[in-house]
């Protein structure tokens, strides 16, 4: 046999199997393109000049590794599916006298075709899209757009190298599959005997417990210290629960349904229940994968999106003015000294604010703010407290509030309102003026998971007493600090701000231990991190969505070929086409929307938890997160429905020709 023959046969094979091969090639092209884009962005020297360039590059590099890992696993998985589909065809060639060696040649040719097409088109698309993506990134970070259209040869090279490697692995994998099977098995490769699934009650129970545990943790955790660790525990529990429930739980439920004769022996239920049982046995793990993958995608995109959109507020809270000086202790001469320095440098400042405050953490239990950890058992929530002197508050607000010695003003900051009386540091206060929102932008450097309070105290004595109590009860290490704040809006160049900071550091007494925050630096840090995360979130999210869609599509197609015979029998036994169509739809619908529904439930339970974490990341806007999550879910569901319709159509064409 001439070499040309194999090339020709390979081309014909791809053409003949286009229903399964074209989506595969399409995926390969997109994966190559996406890898090229992300690598090219990470290697792009222009990125370093962006705001927070360092953080973005780190995040992009992380994205690169994830994309590469994902590409390997995903393409390998898809291909093994293709090979399984084609076992019969290979068996036929084998029986017709082609040796396994020759089949190997054919596969090599096919793989090379796919590789060539994927690399050429993938890199082409990648190069075109790369520029667009770069522009989007620049837009996100308010960067200036450099002209030009650069192609980085080393990126082209590493992308080609990576995917050549992946395809080599894929080829070797297929070769192994061919060599392991005998011709007769190849012929019947598609149709293996179907076993009735055993009910794994234990596994189903374990799944239910894990899921309940995970949900429970997500709903009840309020302590910020535990939040991060508990979040991972909850995620792991939910993942285990999802696998167990999809695998064992679904079958247990279907069996219970089957046991109920009145329900089971109805035309619609009869075929649906048995069909689903059969299907779940084969697909439970795949569906659980899809469910977990889509949950992760949705959580990732919606939370990073929320962080990105909420970053302005985060910046505003941690850095209310463009130039912020914080000195340790009560330093009444800080404003005077600052004004003197600014005047000497002839720098005009606006909106100058100064106040003395105590920034500490308390446990709120009912209407008591506790600082003794021993007393704060179950039932208390952690909150941040910023106690400010009434005099300073009045000055900042240009107001004339007055307070009796046993009165305070309480401003809840994304926290619940405790009532009209408050116990602080062993003394009861009456809450005089409740305000809904912060009327002054006080600096909030650390967010607590359950929000916090701004507490306006009548006099210095009270402030010092509260400070004393919390200092005693927490001990030196964990207690909060009395500080003096001076913030001002300066319209200075960035470099001038940096040098001004140095001069102020030198000019102020050492015991002040000043911390100076510049708004533009904070902006760079927050936007660089949140923007970068959002970008990667969307990028990886679209990659995962593509994978999810393809997996489902392939599942349906491969089942279509298996189900064809079953529906033929049903037709012969006396089921009409309309009923068949309805049954098919209900089955495809079940397989399709079970993962989506489950991931929707997961997200709903994760919602309060993620809100708290976002809170801790200074993005306290719950409404914004709800909108982001809802929006992402809708967009995802829309994609899903489109794919569902396309798949159902293809499936029906296979099953009922």
């Amino acid at each position: 046999m001439g070499k040309g023959f194999f090339w020709k046969l390979a081309a014909i094979n791809i053409q003949k199997n286009r229903k399964t091969y074209f989506p595969y090639i399409f995926t390969c092209i997109l994966t190559v393109a996406m890898y090229y884009m992300i690598l090219s962005l990470a290697e792009n020297p222009g990125i370093y000049d962006l705001l927070g360039g360092n953080i973005i590059v780190t995040i992009l590099n992380l994205g690169c590794s994830i994309t590469a890992l994902f590409a390997v696993i995903f393409l390998f998985y898809t291909n093994s599916f293709l090979v399984k589909q084609r076992k019969k065809e290979m068996g036929l060639y084998n029986v017709l006298g082609m040796e396994k060696r020759h089949l190997g040649y054919v596969f090599a040719c096919e793989t090379l075709y796919v590789l060539a097409v994927s690399l050429i088109l993938g890199l082409g698309i990648g190069i075109l899209m790369d520029k667009l993506l770069f522009l989007i990134l620049l837009k996100m970070f308010n960067g200036t757009v450099p002209m030009g259209f650069q192609i980085q040869p080393q990126v082209l090279y590493s992308t080609s190298l990576l995917f050549s490697g992946v395809f080599l692995a894929i080829y070797l994998g297929s070769l192994r599959q061919i060599h392991l099977t005998k011709p007769i098995e190849l012929l019947y490769g598609g149709a293996m005997g179907e076993r009735e699934p055993r009910t794994k009650w234990l596994s189903a129970l374990l799944g239910a417990i894990c899921l309940a545990g995970g949900y429970g943790i997500a709903l009840t955790t309020t302590n910020p210290m535990d939040a991060i660790i508990l979040f991972f525990i909850a995620v792991i529990l939910v993942i285990i629960g999802t696998y167990c429930l999809f695998d064992a739980g679904s079958i247990a439920i279907l069996k219970l349904l089957r046991r109920n004769r009145r329900f089971y022996y109805k035309a619609g239920h009869f075929i649906a229940v048995s069909g689903m049982m059969h299907r779940m046995r084969q697909n439970a793990i795949g569906l659980a994968n899809i469910c977990i993958l889509s949950t992760m995608v949705l959580v990732m995109i919606s939370s990073t999106m929320c962080m990105y959109l909420g970053s302005q507020e985060a910046i505003q809270r941690s850095c209310p003015q463009t130039f912020v000086v914080r000195a340790e202790g009560i330093r009444e001469d800080l404003p005077r000294r600052m004004e003197a320095i600014l005047e000497e440098k002839q720098i005009e400042g606006e909106n100058a604010l100064w106040y003395r405050y105590l920034d500490y953490t308390a446990y709120r239990k009912g209407n008591r703010l506790i600082t003794d950890p021993a007393q704060a058992e179950a039932g208390s929530v952690v909150c941040g407290v910023i106690a400010v002197l009434l005099k300073d508050y009045n000055r900042c607000l240009a107001a004339q509030y007055t307070l009796e010695a046993n009165e305070v003003i309480l401003i809840p900051d994304y926290a619940r309102y405790p009532g009209d009386r408050l116990w602080i540091a062993g003394q009861e206060y009456e809450i005089r003026y409740q305000e809904e929102k912060m009327s002054v932008d006080f600096v909030v450097r650390e967010q607590s998971i359950s929000g916090g309070y701004i507490l306006i105290v009548p006099d210095m004595e009270t402030l010092l007493r509260i400070d004393n109590v919390q200092r005693q009860e927490y001990g030196e290490e964990y207690s909060g600090q009395l500080e003096t704040y001076y913030g001002v809006d300066l319209s200075l160049e960035e470099e001038a701000q940096v040098s001004l900071r140095e001069e102020i550091r030198k000019a102020l007494p050492e015991e002040y231990e000043v911390g100076i925050d510049l708004r533009f630096e904070e902006e760079n840090r927050v936007m660089g991190m949140y923007g970068g995360l959002f970008f990667i979130g969307v990028f990886l999210g679209s990659l995962f969505i593509m994978a999810t869609i393809l997996i489902i599509y392939y599942k349906q197609i491969s089942e279509g070929y298996e189900d064809r015979q079953r529906f033929e029998i049903l037709r012969k036994v006396g089921m009409d086409r309309k009923e068949i169509r309805r049954t098919i739809h209900s089955q495809v619908l079940g397989v399709f929307f079970l993962p989506l529904l489950t991931s929707g439930i997961h997200i709903a339970f994760a919602f309060p938890f993620i809100t708290r974490i976002l809170w801790a990341l200074s993005v306290p806007d719950r409404g914004l997160f709800a909108i982001c999550t809802g929006g992402c879910f809708l967009v995802f569901a829309l994609f899903y429905v489109l794919i569902y319709r396309e798949t159902a159509k293809t499936y029906y064409r296979i099953v009922a020709p």
């Binding site: 179907e194 109805k266 035309a267 069909g275 049903l570 012969k572 006396g574």
Partner: protein, 255 residues
Amino acid sequence: MSMLEVHHLKKIYTTRFGGNRVQALSDVNFSVEQGEYVAIMGESGSGKTTLLNILAALDKPTGGEVLLNGKSLTAIREKEISAFRREHLGFVFQDFNLLDTFSIQDNIFLPLVLSGKNYKEMRGRLLPIAKQLGIEEILSKYPYEVSGGQKQRAAVARALITKPELILADEPTGALDSRSSDSLLRLFGEINQSGQTILMVTHSTKAASSARRVLFIKDGEVFHQLYRADNTEDQMYQKISDTLTMIATGGVHHG
């Protein structure tokens, strides 16, 4: 009036673009009386399967008509055809056509469930049939757990459970070993004895010789027919063999 009447049945297949025309049935006429056991024989390509598909209302004839108890199959509307098939006809196929996703019992129940019968009635109908067919033991098993012979008995039970007027069997012994074949044919004899009308398509001489009457199809027409009358099965076997030889060597038409 005969139970099943077939008049001038004609079927021409045309390829999708109307290029080639293949005449599967040219002019088939015969009738089946209530309680008869008829075998239809013919070589591959003689039109047997086409005939059976038309009788089963799975396919439409190009010309002629089929009357079941005086009712024309071609006149039944598409919407009702599945229900008609379920209620009036029973099927036994060469490859059993049992669904692997159902237990044997559920496979047998399938047509009744589709007709909306309740469990109690289904169970009531199943027990005597299962007893007659000797499959009581395997009802809760799955098709892949039982032998070919048992599968075919289950398929027969599925055909019988709707109390059809006519059972259509397509090569029922085709996938069975000789012992299972014998016992299945004996079963068909018994079912027929109890009054069930059976029409079987086969090219096994052995299977055909168990029938009361054998029709021979050649080139899309009924070429010849034999009545078993008082002949033993062996004598019938001999007669069928002779007829087949005659057909193969190009004998004359006997009518």
